[in-house]
Amino acid sequence: MKPVSGSPQDKHDDVDLSRRHALQAGGLTIAFLWLGGTGVASAMMNARRQPGDAAASLADGNPPFAPNAFIRIDTSGAVRLVMPSAEMGQGIYTGCSMLLAEELGVGLDQITVEHSPPSDELYGIPALGGQMTGGSTSTRATWPVLREAGAVARTMLVSAAATNWHVDPSTCTVDRGVIHHTPSGRSLGFGEVATAAAKLPMPDKVQLTDPKDFKLIGKPMRRVDSSDKIKGATQFGLDVRIPGMKVATVMACPTFNGKLAAVDDIAARAIPGVVDVLRLDNAVAVVGDHFWAAKQGLQALHISWDHGENANLTTQQLRDALAESARHGKSIVARNDGAQPQGTTIQSEYQSPMLAHATMEPMNATVLVTADKCEVWTGTQVPARAAGEAARITGLTQDKITLHNQYLGGGFGRRLETDWVEQAVAFAKQVSYPLKVVWTREEDIRHDRVRPMYHDVISAVLDANGRPVWYGYRTSGGSVLARFAPPAMGKDGMDSDAVECVADVPYDIPNAKVEWIRHDMPPGLVVGWWRGVGPTHNLFVVESFMDELAHHAGKDPLEYRRALLQKSPRALAVLNLAAEKIGWGGQPLPARIGRGIALGEPFGSHVCAIVEAEVTPQGEVRLRRVVVALDCGIAVNISSIEAQVQGGVLFGLSAAMFNGITIKDGAIEQSNFNDYRNLRINEAPMVEVHRVINAEPPGGLGEVGTAIAAPALANAIFAATGVRLYKLPVDRDLLVQNADALKSVASAAAHTGRNVT
């Protein structure tokens, strides 16, 4: 997901209100603080703000020292850190903990981390307009706030100790949760001064640690959530068990916007362990003592669907309409530097498919609805939104909703949605017991909110040397943002995500015209954020096209790009670093092995990937090696950076190699990992990650690798075969060397491609 632009300023930045102050201030002030609700106008995270009500304080154990929404310290010295973002694998709990712990003065082994409760107010990301984890924004957004939050807490604890000792706070030092006064040899633990510190006023200004003194930031740190995860002890949403709970599994109408017509549940109810059969207007759930009974029950239902207006919809219809709109539709102009100049013009059209998220943990939520409250346990990237939906569906007020966020078994943007939570609440409302709704993998894929499909027309006018002097871009697709955050839509209804990484390119091309044609999908086919969204397809198109231009100019793709990057030093640096590390231009490669470059600046980082691939005579693609060079500014946890880039690249390659959601009879055709394929370890190349080290502000990471993977692969395939791929996923039929190859017994061993170091 990309950041939502244009969010209003945090109006309450200067409201300096500790929780206890807030409690004392009472009524109006509290109401004022909460007034924003889930809306965009609410306050966002702040280093000095606390939950404004007594209930919240009680709920988190009434810690003696809680100077802000992130830090809780007990009299025993136990330190709990509350995580503003959701942990879905990206390592943000570790990154946030490092920021807080660095400034607070504790070790990562001394802390425990907690999920945050739903609150835009306390945990809202300014750039996203709310409490959300997405858009590769977490580190970028929390970096200043959490360091300051840690420093605020440390300052207060030190003051308390200094006051106790009657010494100047500046003569005290902090190390691993203990305050020392070296001159007098005295020391006090955080726990011992927690109560006193809580009574002190909030400091206006705090001193942040000088980066050269960082003990944690910039080091490769082990993740704080690993030790439980390797033991199976981490609780994901799917692992929630509430006393008296029953388990349901669901089937919603496979056709977009279809409805439930009738269900015959006699056979299902006869299955031992089946407890209930519940209906919504478009779905049916079977409730069992356990998932298996529920699933058996679901299989035994005889369901009639009313397939509705999309009953005959196919991917091809959507494709054709999209192509038509890309070529001739009325556009919203993102950038126009004047008339297209005369000269040699090159034009290409590219297509990108719909994509499913297929998070490893299928969608699920556990919900208990009673007359006066609703409790929800689920893993979500948008806790406050999810709680808001639960309120809407139950008709209860927001304060009657408790949402317990969980560790997420993958997010990738899927859990920025709330559809499964809404559905689970609607089912749970019909029963008196806690209801855990678990989607099968089939349901998870068939009812995903897919990455939109795109059709892009790109063109360039070249000078005599084959250098572009102008480029034109018309991209057509549905808008995720328009549904997700309408107020964040730009001028003329522009969706900034649609043109990210193409409205501005690192290359020195004087003029451009960049247009977006909004082409909404039929009702019911809801498109959603997907790791990398807009940049995933824009970079595929732009970087494939740059290769086309290089080829047209008869230049090496590396040299061609270099020549255009003289004004973009950070982009040039990653390009050069990647080229050097892979040994570009060294020994010539064997036949049908090629290397492809892709360069981009997605999510505030600068990245270059080079993929080395082999294409067999039958058209099969083997990934041999990937080298990535990255400039993401200041690094918080370099171990996480490497992991995120490796994982992101493999996620992107998996999609580019295999994935496309297709529609037949108004329903998604794919259903599980047998037909929505995922790269496996024996198909995965080594991914080397190299960093350009500098002190620029941190860039995003979670989606960078994903966005840069596909074009590097497509360019590698071109280098290996001379075949330009204009659509994804890779169509292996296009890569067959000659018809004879398909007549040969399929057993010739390819070069074993893996490069393990």
């Binding site: 039958q618 058209g619 047998n674 496996r680 292996r732 039929d733 017994v745 057993s747 061993a749």
Partner: protein
């Protein structure tokens, strides 16, 4: 000149005479040997239901999952086009509600429908012709007792000259003989019952007997195996090496009723449907009769005979979780696919983790160097929902290329059959089309 004309007329007359002679109808009502599941004492509807199952009417006349039992519309892809089965519910307008007993009997036993047009022998009147009138009418009574479904028949999509129904008269003259079942008094009653179940009702020959160039059954090669719709129907003669001669009675019975015989194989594709829709409903005495008959089918080698290696070195050297030494020189991409998508269930030693149905050792599929059925199962998966737990294999045809399916097939053949498979990407492409 005149003489020449006379010769021509004579030849024509002889031809016409031969045509009608060869197309003559056996007017005998016919009698069936005792069928344990449908004794004469039983209600006609109960008999009809049992016989309809034994004759597997539903498989061809019901689109799977449609819930429209016997309303037709199932596609049959043949080398010369696509046929669709017809609606045989009692609906007057779109089904056979207006058919008399004689109309129905003629259609089932002679392949001629009510309006006098010929049916295509995709409908096995060539076998059903052996049935007794009383059995045919019991089936009619059963069909007419079921809900009428209004569903118009789909037009066939056949190329010329195959779309000329009248031409089937010539085909019948050449390859079809109207003829009732004749018991063999020298054999036991059980054997005779088994034969009637096999050749009249079960119409085993329609799939398992090789066909000649004219698409007629090679009766001299009874049940020696054939390929159809992209699948291979195996040799089920008593040949111990290439047929089922080495199977025990209980192996055969288990295969027929549960779709699986340990160490021999599991049914998939069309055969799994036969088990699911038909054979598993047979009364044990009838199953035993069928086994008795099958054991006596003369041994034949058949086309492309399969020799089974039930203890292949590569598989034996493996354990359940890892390959043994024999895999080093096998195809690189096939093994990669197997270790990713297949080994979890089938296991490297071919034992099958979760169910004996997933065991591969000793099966004909993995010993067939052409890999016909291995390819088909990979493309289309398998889904049998009757023998206790669901027997399920996902389809891999959608996300895996022809080359990958071919490489995987060849790997499976080498690892579990110890043979060099010959599957090419082109073969897989053809099999995807059901050819």
């Amino acid at each position: 000149m005149t003489r020449f004309l006379i010769v021509v007329v004579l030849v024509l007359l002889l031809g016409v005479g031969a045509y009608f002679y060869l197309n003559r109808t056996d007017s005998a009502e016919g009698s069936a040997p005792p069928i344990a599941g449908a004794p004469p004492s039983a209600e006609v509807l109960a008999r009809g239901e049992y016989l309809a199952k034994a004759a597997d009417c539903i498989a061809c006349h019901t689109v799977p999952g449609s819930g429209n039992a016997f309303a037709g519309g199932v596609a049959f892809r043949l080398p010369f086009g696509t046929l669709y089965s017809s609606n045989i519910t009692a609906d007057e307008a779109s089904g056979i509600g207006s058919w008399s007993d004689d109309d129905f009997v003629r259609a089932v036993r002679e392949g001629v429908r009510k309006d006098g047009e010929h049916l295509y022998p995709a409908f096995p009147y060539t076998s059903y012709t052996q049935m007794s009138r009383s059995d045919v009418l019991a089936i009619k009574a059963y069909l007419f007792s079921l809900p009428k479904i209004s569903q118009a028949d789909k037009a066939n999509d056949l190329s010329f000259p195959y779309n000329q129904r009248w031409a089937m008269g010539f085909w019948n003259a050449a390859f079809f003989k109207s003829q009732r079942f004749a018991p063999d008094p020298s054999q036991s009653p059980q054997w005779n019952s088994g034969k009637y179940l096999a050749i009249a009702l079960g119409h085993c020959a329609e799939c398992h007997t090789p066909r000649n160039a004219g698409f007629g059954l090679e009766h001299g090669n009874e049940l020696a195996g054939e390929k159809l719709q992209g699948w291979r129907a195996y040799n089920i003669t008593s040949d111990p090496q290439h047929g089922i001669g080495a199977w025990s009675n209980s192996d055969i019975a288990s295969y027929l009723t549960a779709g699986h015989a340990d160490g021999k194989g599991s049914a998939a594709g069309p055969m799994a449907e036969v088990v699911e829709n038909s054979l598993r409903f047979l009364n044990p005495a009838d199953t035993a009769a069928l086994v008795t008959y099958l054991r006596t089918v003369p041994a034949r080698e058949g086309k492309d005979p399969i020799t089974i290696d039930a203890a292949t070195a590569p598989a034996i050297a493996s354990n359940n979780a890892g390959p043994g030494g024999g895999t080093a020189n096998t195809d690189n991409s096939g093994i990669k696919l197997f270790e990713g998508a297949c080994a979890s269930c089938h296991q490297w030693n071919g034992q099958g983790q979760q169910t004996p149905y997933a065991s591969l050792l000793g099966t004909r599929g993995v010993n067939d160097v052409r890999g016909t059925n291995v390819t088909q199962v990979l493309l289309h998966g398998s889904d049998m929902r009757f023998a206790g737990p669901n027997i399920f294999m996902p389809t891999f045809g959608d996300a895996y290329s022809n080359t990958e399916i071919a490489a995987l097939s060849n790997y499976v053949i080498s690892h579990f059959g110890n043979k060099q498979g010959t599957v090419t990407a082109d073969d897989v492409a053809r099999r995807r089309k059901g050819l």
